[in-house]
């Protein structure tokens, strides 16, 4: 019998005989032996993976079983809000990463600094957001290595993320995020834009993702204008965050606000807002309910 490289099946996992054994050698490709799948006498599926068949299968496009793509997000963040004001932009989000209905991680940072002029907030799958941060760090590192004082501007980061998200969407393997990019451009103008998981992107004076697009947007439409002062902007952000916390079940009373101005980026420590829950009807909610016991 011709000695052939053997490997355990995918079900048992990699590592025992090494993935390199799944690659057929040139000798195998030149003179492929007659295929004899070894089935165990007890009945059941053949567990020996024939590298030649695998090679042929891969050239037909479905190597080793069906390709898996992102179908559902698992650990998610909710809304992100952003507004422009006189000196720059503010982006805010809560610090919750939920695992379905469970409020699993209560100290995630969902608004981050990208470089000295750009901030990014994300809702959706947190692991994809971490991947996006890695990718953006590579961009910033490239700027550092170039050593010419030029940094990616907020609009460039926004355009880049738009291309990344659209590209992943085209592969049917999206990064499951809604991103809010903000900052101050080199000419001093504030910039604020949003990129969705399909690659849809737009710029505006105020953006909101997730629940906030229903809850906070009316507040922004009423009260936001591009030359509002910092105190007014912060008050508006707080009100919007409060509304989102009241009405979104997947949120917590712990927020961070990132601010980008011409002089730099600041991200606040997590803080909470005053919320009122002691309404009369909340005290015994089922007291007057029909059929309550």
């Amino acid at each position: 019998m011709i000695p052939r490289p053997q490997s355990h099946s995918h079900a048992l996992g990699p590592g025992v005989t090494g993935p390199e054994l799944l690659v057929p050698t040139s000798a195998l490709l030149e003179r492929p032996p007659a295929p004899t799948p070894l089935t165990p006498s007890c009945g059941g599926h053949a567990f020996m993976v024939d590298p030649l068949q695998l090679h042929e299968a891969s050239s037909h496009g479905d190597a080793g079983g069906p390709r898996q793509h992102t179908k559902y997000p698992y650990v998610t963040g909710t809304s992100v809000i952003g507004i422009k004001y006189k000196d720059g932009v503010m982006i805010a989000a809560d610090t919750l990463a939920a695992y379905g209905s469970t409020k699993r991680y209560k100290t995630t940072q969902r608004v981050v600094k990208v470089n000295n002029h750009t901030i990014l907030g994300a809702g959706g799958e947190i692991s994809d957001f971490q991947h996006i941060q890695t990718v953006l760090n590579e961009l910033t590192d490239e700027d550092y290595r170039m050593d010419d004082g030029i940094e990616q501007t907020p609009s460039e980061v926004y355009a880049y993320l738009g291309r990344v998200m659209y590209n992943r969407r085209n592969k049917f393997n999206p990064l499951w995020n809604s991103l809010v990019v903000g900052g101050v451009q080199p000419d001093g103008m504030p910039f604020l834009g949003m990129v969705a998981m399909q690659g849809t992107h737009y710029v505006d004076s105020h953006v909101a993702t997730g629940f906030a697009s229903q809850l906070a947007r009316p507040l922004f439409r009423e009260r936001q204008h591009d030359d509002m002062s910092e105190e007014d902007a912060l008050a508006l952000i707080h009100d919007a965050l409060k509304v989102c916390y009241y009405r979104d079940k997947q949120s917590i009373n712990k927020f961070q606000v990132a601010k980008a101005t011409a002089s730099g980026i600041t991200i606040t420590e997590p803080f909470c807002l005053d919320v009122k829950w002691d309404y009369e009807l909340f005290k015994q909610p089922t007291k007057w309910a029909v059929g309550a016991w």
């Binding site: 170039m146 010419d148 004082g149 030029i150 990616q152 609009s155 460039e156 355009a159 880049y160 291309r163």
Partner: protein, 285 residues
């Protein structure tokens, strides 16, 4: 320099630590026709002399637009230069597609210089035989770079490469300090005068030179033939030995009268004033 036993291969060092093949490639740049670049705070101008193979053929194209904010002039083996131009245009396009913004000039020049360096360190390649003058205006201001076959690149306030470039450099060395505040017209005229210095047998005309300009609010534009005529005329007018007119009066837009150009053109290369009896000078109109 003369032939020696260390110059056959680009990957052979000489005992003095020189790579002769690279140096010979730089000689090829010096054989090309002259290209001059100069910049002010807001604009960059490239001026080149066009050479043609014979009277029947068209002129060899030396100035290429790379992107709206950047362009280059080459001197040397133009086929190599075309390949680099295609590469630069591709990089700019890709950058615009991904980032929706202009690729900073210095970064692209660095990439081009790295491409040059690769061919100086592979035994199966030969160095590029072309020098580029890259002119561009990006968010950090106006830039003029010179790349050379060795893989080095330098940023310049003004530079000339190619045949008889030293004459142009002499002119530029005299005038480079007055360049930064220049406006577009003045800069073009400086460029034409610099390139005129490189001419040996012929005189400056709108058919044997070309100008390219890029700057703040001005996308890369090539001026040739008819578009260049006013500037060439202006330069020739100024070169008339001045009787009582200061040069500063010359304004390019007023010197379009072609009939005025026809008479004194022949005297351009001579120093003797011959137009004292030719009537009022055009600037007076």
């Amino acid at each position: 320099m003369f032939r020696n036993q260390y110059d056959t291969d680009v990957t052979t060092w000489s005992p003095q630590g020189r790579l002769f093949q690279v140096e010979y490639a730089m000689e090829a740049v010096k054989q090309g026709s002259c290209a001059v670049g100069l910049k002010s705070d807001t604009h960059v101008v490239l001026a080149t002399l066009k050479r043609s193979e014979s009277e029947l053929s068209s002129y060899q194209r030396k100035v290429f637009k790379v992107d709206d904010h950047m362009g280059m002039a080459m001197s040397g083996i133009t086929a190599d230069g075309r390949v680099l131009c295609k590469y630069m245009r591709n990089e700019c396009l890709n950058h615009r597609y991904v980032f929706e913004s202009a690729l900073p000039v210095g970064r692209l020049v660095k990439q081009v210089a790295d491409k040059h360096q690769i061919s100086t360190q592979r035994s199966w390649k030969r160095p590029f035989g072309v020098g580029l003058l890259v002119a561009g205006y990006d968010m950090t201001g106006s830039h003029l770079f010179n790349t050379c076959p060795s893989g080095n690149f330098y940023e310049y306030k003004a530079m000339a490469i190619g045949a008889r470039a030293q004459a142009a450099k002499t002119y530029l060395e005299k005038h480079y300090e007055s360049l930064p505040p220049c406006n577009m017209d003045e800069l073009i005229r400086h460029g034409l005068r610099a390139v005129q210095a490189c001419l040996q047998d012929s005189e400056l005309s709108s058919s044997n030179c070309s100008i390219a300009i890029v700057g703040k609010g001005m996308p890369f534009t090539i001026l040739e033939d008819a578009a260049l005529e006013p500037y060439v005329s202006a330069v020739k007018e100024e070169d008339q030995p001045a009787i009582a007119e200061p040069d500063a009066v010359v304004d390019a837009t007023t010197v379009v009268e072609a009939e005025m150009v026809a008479e004194p053109a022949v005297d351009n290369t001579e120093a003797a004033p011959a137009d004292e009896d030719e009537g009022p000078r055009p600037m007076e109109i």
